[in-house]
């Protein structure tokens, strides 16, 4: 990712409010479910709230990919994203079966997102070193 290009700056500009919204949603919703648990349809609506900024992050990355005019930077990002997607699907499958046969504890599904970005960072870092 190139944070100095116009597309990169727009990406950062979109990410900051999303991150703020995420922190606010997770703190607010956790407090609410701990203290005044909502009922009925509201329960669903509020429970899904922290996921919305995360979906926003996926959208922001997609927009960055479309808007970045540097074709090499764009290609690298797309490739790294594919590698990270593959790593995430592989890890989720392995963990899923380990869990199924009760050898490991359950992990909430949203950790797939965390894993994806961790894999993304490691792969991007490795490629930087290898490309030198």
């Amino acid at each position: 990712m190139n944070s100095t290009s116009p597309a990169g700056r727009r990406y950062v500009g979109r990410m900051v409010p999303l991150m703020v919204a995420y922190v606010a949603a997770i703190l607010g919703v956790t407090w609410l479910f701990d203290n005044r648990p909502p009922e009925g349809a509201l329960r669903y609506a509020l429970a899904v709230l922290p996921a919305l900024p995360i979906i926003g992050v996926v959208w922001a990355v997609g927009l960055y990919l479309r808007e970045e005019t540097d074709e090499y930077v764009r290609m690298r990002l797309a490739e790294t994203s594919l590698y990270a997607t593959g790593a995430t699907l592989a890890a989720a499958s392995v963990w899923g079966f380990l869990e199924q046969f009760e050898t490991v504890p359950h992990i909430p599904l949203y950790y797939a997102f965390v894993f994806y970005w961790a894999a993304f960072g490691v792969i991007q870092g490795l490629r930087k070193v290898l490309d030198r």
Partner: protein, 63 residues
Amino acid sequence: MKNRLKVLRAERDWSQADLAERLGVSRQSVNAIETGKYDPSLPLAFKIARIFELPIEQIFEDA
């Protein structure tokens, strides 16, 4: 793909960053093209050719 970017750049005393700025791409892109790790798209190849005022085949070699 082999290319003469490094030589052409040196002849004009331009750094990778100078050429990147003229092309409107990042310095890492120029580096990747120069070292043959990345083949530029046709539009970018034409842009490079125009900047050096040479035909594309005098810059890039498909051997």
